[in-house]
């Protein structure tokens, strides 16, 4: 493994963002930092996909933006999970579990 980071599989970015926001409202930079930190630097979100994803989630009504002040005392746009966002997160989580279990099963069995 020469490459420290791995590419995010299609569709998982939304899940990660929703999960991160489940802990409380967060702004874009913090989301990407948090994901990187928790995944021990394995996953790194590109800004090129982070913001389109956030705006897509907003369009779908899963997150709600609000301008606020960050821990650095800077203005930042915080995203908060909405109720339907929470539902979506549960849905995607169970889907993901099913997927990984299935994939793991195949990998272990064969």
């Amino acid at each position: 493994m020469t490459n420290r980071n791995i590419e995010l599989p299609q569709g998982t970015l939304d899940l990660l963002i929703l999960r991160t926001l489940a802990a409380g409202p967060q702004h874009g930079w913090a989301i990407s930092e948090r994901v990187q930190e928790i995944s021990s630097d394995v996953l790194r979100i590109q800004q090129g996909s982070l913001y389109p994803a956030l705006h897509r989630l907003e369009r779908r009504g899963w997150v709600k933006p609000r301008w606020g002040t960050s821990e650095n005392n800077r203005r930042a746009k915080f995203y908060e999970l909405t109720r339907s966002g929470r539902r979506q997160l549960e849905l995607e989580k169970s889907m993901w579990r099913k997927l990984t279990t299935a994939v793991a099963q195949i990998l272990d069995t064969i």
């Binding site: 702004h27 874009g28 930079w29 913090a30 930092e33 590109q46 800004q47 090129g48 996909s49 913001y51 389109p52 994803a53 705006h55 897509r56 907003e58 369009r59 779908r60 009504g61 960050s70 650095n72 800077r74 203005r75 930042a76 746009k77 339907s84």
Partner: protein, 886 residues
């Protein structure tokens, strides 16, 4: 809920575009600031922190673009942005815009105008209810008898008939009038499905003797003559000596069978008048399919009724009569001949538009070269290829919309002129307007045009090689492919021009041949006028002879009039009486068709007045004008050759069927174009004979009533208008109730008879002249551009000792090569395409080699001229400057 939030989001994004943009900017800046903070906290100097954060962040513009994309309103927003940007480009390059818009306006305008014609004449349904149920009889001629039989027998159709081009004397008013109208069957209006505006239409039975003294007025006549008084219904007017009750007025938009018809009277269907009923002139027969009946059933019924119909005739008819009888749609009958001509014109303007597109595409290609850097910069900033293409296409559609708007104006103002160029008797001209369908056509045309001419340049530009075009630093690094593209566009343009100009050449050549056909008479200094007593007036024996001889005597006495005569119908219009004739040497076999000949009933001076030569025997003299002297005829040259080949026809005899007297041929006269300049004689006629007024053969029952409708021909040195005025006075002096109409020079008739071919040739020439001009401009543009590009090369060549002449040849040769390519393609295409217009040609083959060669040469010369101008510029290139500039 989700839907609402989605919609809300999109709407906000769309309408609060600026706020959303600022918001996104702030958000991304905030991200960067946090990143910088982090790096500073980690101990980096602020400069390096900022640089690092930026590098890690990546392309801001690309992120913004993708974020916008994910907001989902991008398409509309981009479109708005592209349009704004496009407008800016359009305004910033007024020269380019003007040329492109004008070129497109020409193309789109011409197409709009011609499509309006096609739409009004060919596409629009006839203005009757359920117009697709209206049919017309084909493949045989119908007189009153067979028509009445069909009407009575048909189960599938409501059969109606009309005799068009009739004229009626309206007397009993201060000055007698001659009114154009139509005699129609009583069910004519009900079959067409139209109602009267005032009063009523004809009722069943009103075309029978005794009940037919009624008349219906057109809206126009009601308006002009009666000031739209409603009490006109029930009053009477005197038509042809018969008092008729006005029973109705038709609405203004009803103009069938022709726009000229100002009144309608019932057909006089009298089975007892055998000649009139079975043998009178032919009438168009139309029908409305009854509910539930199909055209196929009607055809079958028509075929089944053929034999019983033949059996009705009081004399045997050839067995194959109406063998080809059939049905066609009424619309087809009305516009059939016009369709081909209009569609060919539409094809021509379509090609013209293609040329315009090619020209503008070339302009765009040249400009694309100068915009290469702009495109490269946009690409570098993250614009996708599709995005760039979309923007360029938006620009070209914008140009074509502008062109279309101007073209629309051209079309609306040009349409009346276009209509006036067409012969006045063209069908359905009144239906030609710019309607919704035309507007839709233009809208589609604009978008399609924009995409057609914009696609190639856009495709080329979006394929920009980033590194090279940015590095080249302002050099005109146009891709070789683009120049190849523009060259092939020019070859295509020249090819299309060749096709159009060859088409125009063929039409003009046939018009020229047609106009120079010898009509068989001297057309100069002859004035004609129709002087027409009532039909009933002539029924009294000798009255009309006296009237006309009195009239001719007085006209001959007018100062300036050298010769005067009268005839029952002028040439170039089929005037005269069609009669079945027995030829003594050529008896018709039983069951075969009769010899049908055209009888020209003339006063004795007719031949000399018209300048028709007597080739054999003698002409007519005063003795021949009496029923009591020997009955004589003259025959035309081709008639003599048909019946008496190699024999002197003088002394041979012919006889009009149903008359007892044989007539002796006493002379042979020159052939005259009786039908049109192109058609000497209608195909159902075998020949022409001349009879002196006084020995007339009258169709029908054989009463010797002379025709009441005679036309005066006068040779004079006087002004036409003066003679016209005198003529009115003379006629009024003899008989107050006789109208004088159609006062016109014979020359005018000749000109009018080629009006159709002339208008086609004129329109086609106009459009192909435009094509030629655009083609020339196209070559000029490409060669100019190539000279500009090759300035350096030319400079080197000159520095190495090339002489200006060599350079000239080089550049002109380039243009010539393009032209030859285009001409070859064009000639081959024309060989295939001109065949479509064979029906419009006279005396010229569709592949007339002289025309083809001439046009090829013309195009070649135009190409040389168009490349000569830039070649001169190339010759004057100063090698030093040329080498330094690059």
């Amino acid at each position: 809920m989700k839907f609402i939030s989605d919609l809300n989001f999109r709407i906000r994004a769309l309408f609060q575009r600026k706020a959303v943009e600022v918001d996104l900017d702030d958000e991304l800046r905030s991200h960067l600031e946090h990143e910088v903070d982090k790096r500073v906290r980690a101990g980096a100097p602020s400069e390096a922190a900022i640089r690092g954060a930026r590098a890690a962040f990546g392309g801001v513009e690309r992120i913004k673009e993708e974020t916008r994309e994910s907001r989902g309103v991008n398409f509309i927003e981009n479109l708005a942005q592209d349009v704004r940007y496009g407008l800016r480009m359009v305004v910033k390059n007024p020269g380019f815009t003007a040329v492109a818009v004008l070129t497109l306006a020409l193309g789109i305008g011409a197409n709009t105008a011609v499509f309006s014609l096609v739409n009004g004449v060919v596409l629009r349904p006839l203005p009757f209810p359920e117009p697709d149920h209206m049919v017309a009889m084909t493949g045989g001629e119908y007189t009153k008898g067979p028509f009445s039989f069909l009407r009575a027998q048909s189960r599938t159709m409501d059969v109606a008939a009309y005799a068009d081009e009739a004229e009626f004397n309206w007397t009993g008013i201060d000055r007698p009038l001659r009114i154009a109208g139509a005699s129609v069957s009583a069910n004519y209006f009900s079959a067409l499905g139209v109602a009267a505006e005032e009063g009523r239409v004809f009722q069943q039975g009103e075309d029978q003797p005794g009940t037919d003294r009624v008349v219906i007025l057109s809206h126009a006549l009601w308006d002009h003559r009666f000031g739209r008084a409603t009490n006109v219904i029930g009053s009477r007017i005197m038509l042809e000596g018969i008092s008729r009750e006005i029973i109705g007025v038709m609405p203004a938009e009803f103009r069938f069978p022709s726009t000229k018809a100002e009144l309608w009277v019932p057909l006089h269907l009298d089975p007892k008048d055998i000649g009139d009923f079975w043998y009178s002139s032919y009438m168009p027969v139309i029908a409305r399919l009854r509910p539930g009946a199909t055209i196929g059933q009607a055809q079958a019924e028509l075929a089944a009724l053929r034999k019983p119909m033949l059996a009705q005739f009081p004399y045997p008819l050839p067995a194959d009569s109406w063998q080809k009888a059939g049905l066609t749609s009424l619309q087809e009958r009305i516009v059939g001949d016009e369709r081909v001509k209009l569609l060919i014109l539409l094809g021509a303007v379509g090609l013209l538009l293609l040329i315009a597109c090619a020209n503008v595409a070339n302009l765009l290609l040249v400009r694309a070269a100068t915009r290469l850097r702009e495109v490269a910069v946009r690409t570098a900033l993250g614009a996708g290829r599709w995005r760039i293409m979309r923007q360029l296409i938006t620009e070209s559609v914008l140009l074509s919309v502008l062109g279309g708007a101007v073209g629309m104006g051209v079309a609306i103002y040009g349409l009346p002129a276009l209509k006036s160029l067409l012969p006045a008797d063209s069908p359905r001209l009144a239906d030609v307007t710019v309607d919704g369908r035309v507007l839709l056509f233009v809208a589609l045309l604009m978008v399609a045009t924009g995409i057609v001419f914009g696609a190639a340049p856009a495709l080329g530009a979006s394929r920009v090689d980033l590194t090279n075009s940015l590095k080249a630093g302002g050099q005109r690094g146009v891709a070789g492919g683009n120049h190849r593209l523009s060259k092939s566009l020019v070859v295509g343009e020249v090819a299309i021009s060749v096709v159009l100009v060859i088409g125009a050449g063929l039409l003009v050549k046939s018009l020229w041949l047609l106009s120079n056909v010898d009509p068989g008479f001297r057309r100069e200094t002859i004035l004609t006028a129709r002087v027409t007593p009532d039909e009933t007036f002539c029924e009294v024996s000798g009255r009309c002879q006296t009237f006309y001889s009195d009239l001719l005597g007085r006209v001959r006495a007018l100062p300036g009039v050298t010769e005067v005569a009268a005839v029952n119908g002028l040439p170039l219009g089929g005037g005269g009486e069609v009669l079945p004739v027995d030829i003594e040497a050529h008896p018709t076999r039983p069951g075969a068709h009769n010899h049908l000949l055209l009888e020209k009933l003339v006063t004795t001076d007719y031949l000399s007045t018209m300048g028709i030569p007597i080739l054999k025997g003698r002409g007519l003299n005063d003795l021949d004008a009496s029923a009591h002297s020997q009955w004589v005829v003259l025959v035309s040259k081709s008639t003599a050759e048909l019946y008496w080949p190699g024999i002197d026809p003088v002394g041979e005899r012919i006889k009009v069927k149903f008359q007892d007297q044989w007539r002796t041929v006493v002379g042979v006269v020159g052939d005259v174009r009786e039908s049109t300049m192109a058609v000497p004689l209608e195909s159902y006629l075998e020949g022409v004979f001349y009879v002196a007024y006084g020995q007339q053969a009258v169709q029908g029952s054989g009463t010797e009533t002379p025709p009441a409708e005679m036309t005066l021909v006068m040779r004079s040195s006087q002004e036409n208008s003066q003679i016209g005025a005198e003529l009115h006075g003379i006629v009024a002096g003899i008989n107050h109730d006789v109208p004088v109409t159609h006062i016109e020079p014979l020359q005018g008739r000749v000109i009018e008879s080629v009006a159709g071919p002339r208008s086609t040739a004129l329109l086609f020439s106009f459009f192909s002249a435009l094509a030629l001009a655009l083609g020339g401009v196209g070559i000029y543009g490409v060669i100019s551009y190539s000279v500009e590009q090759r300035t350096r090369e030319i400079g080197i060549r000159m520095a190495l000792g090339a002489r200006p002449g060599t350079i000239l040849r080089l550049i002109v040769g380039q243009g010539a090569k393009l032209a030859v390519g285009g001409i070859l393609v064009g000639v081959v295409s024309a060989l295939a395409l001109t065949r479509l217009m064979a029906g419009l040609l006279y005396g010229v083959g569709a592949t007339d080699s002289l025309t083809f060669f001439g046009v090829a040469l013309l195009l070649f010369l135009v190409a040389i001229a168009a490349s000569y101008i830039p070649a001169r510029r190339a010759m004057r290139v100063d090698p030093m400057t040329a080498l330094r500039t690059e």
